[in-house]
Assembly symmetry: none
Amino acid sequence: MIPAERRDYIYRYVHERNIVPINELARELGVSHMTVRRDIQWLETEGKVVSVSGGVKLNDAVKQELAYSEKAGIRHHNKVAIGQAAAAMVEDGQVIYLDAGTTTFEVAKGIARKANLTVVTNDFTIINYLMQYPQLTLFHTGGLVDTRNRSCVGQAAASLLQSLNLDLAFISSSSWELERGMSTPAENKVMVKQALLQVARRRILVSDSSKYGKYGMFRICPLQALTDIICDAGLADETAEQLRSLGLQLTLAKPSDTQ
Amino acid sequence: MIPAERRDYIYRYVHERNIVPINELARELGVSHMTVRRDIQWLETEGKVVSVSGGVKLNDAVKQELAYSEKAGIRHHNKVAIGQAAAAMVEDGQVIYLDAGTTTFEVAKGIARKANLTVVTNDFTIINYLMQYPQLTLFHTGGLVDTRNRSCVGQAAASLLQSLNLDLAFISSSSWELERGMSTPAENKVMVKQALLQVARRRILVSDSSKYGKYGMFRICPLQALTDIICDAGLADETAEQLRSLGLQLTLAKPSDTQ
DNA sequence: ATATAGATGTCACAATATTTCACATTTCAG
DNA sequence: CTGAAATGTGAAATATTGTGACATCTATAT
């Protein structure tokens, strides 16, 4: 059985069963779990399937909301550390923005119990979570709903932001790099992030090191447009040096007492 | 059984029984109560389920602001009926607005499977629910978050609405009356509803008869500013007559054969 | 009100299980 | 035979789960 056949088989199998454990696929196909994993990775980049702990799941349009939660597991330690470092920057009485994403969700967890904060976000999961804390003043940007990311994008979201003054903006990014700056594969996120750069006093990229060096089709800004970057310790020393020489305040967050 | 399977199982199980004790789930699944709790937490952040003391509950009719007497009793049947009558008005390709509230949530359920619709709302529970249906184009108004109602209010929400053209606006109200018109106890809801009246071609009040005759401190509009009213059969004949004589299209929805 | 028991919920940590990563091995096409 | 692609292996990194200690809530009796 050649790889393409096997992937096809997996895809059909998952279609029938909705959720299938990796072990079952490996046994069924008579290959090692690694082969199954690599096949799943392939199918995942095509968006046909989502991997979950222990197995794989259909990416039925109906179940797309899960894309968010699946991502939550990946590089989780680093995200938590970044979130904590970010939360430590926040002071009483400030107005802060949290961009859509799982890393910023960790920031949200870190600031939830602070007093006197105003939090603006375009993310529904974050709003949902923060609504539990009645001492916070919350603001949602609104706009066109991006189901995959459970957030709002587009002109309407950007307009609302432009009418605000923000102390801190925690900006997420799936791709950033020295030469090409911050970029995204989705056009309608561009204007939201650009609006942020205009209205926030301090503009803080929160992104784990696995995103460094990637780039998407749409360019948002050069890295100099930011004031701070919070990343995990996985960033190359050389890169860290270069970022600092651009005048950026770089924080490398270490997962606390991890074993 | 892998985690994703188990969560799926729990979700479906809760769907059948509505409320399920944690112990029962743990026994049924052969895992510890901690695992069940963590699964429930997961489902909860997705808004699929709500945890209650000792167990977990379906999040279909989630509405904190309402007492359960209203949620569970006869009123609920009326809301469902109103929702269905409202959904029947919606045609392919339209742009519709759903106001925050439990009655409009019933409208959302009724329209979820239609094609080619654009739905605008200020309600987070509704957006959350409708995100499951990828064929819909969704828009959220954004604005200041009203935690109690899980929705957005205030100037920012109103501004966004003013930049739209709506075919149908389904408006909820906790108090309406011939003389005093539609009113609300919360000031920052006023401008949202007034913006709707300006931009929607057809302005439809969806409200059960128990709200008729009440009034709140802030006046929104006289009833003539509306074009339609959908209510349940509990409205007095005389009142119905009067409303119709104002030129309003009045629909009295009857709960379908359900007991 | 206060005390108490029993149920329920939270937390930290150890025990398992899964996933990732680097690299050795195999397969296949030319 | 050779190089590239595909696969398997096992150790290390991460995630998930169960356990038990402890906190909190609820109802009842004093």
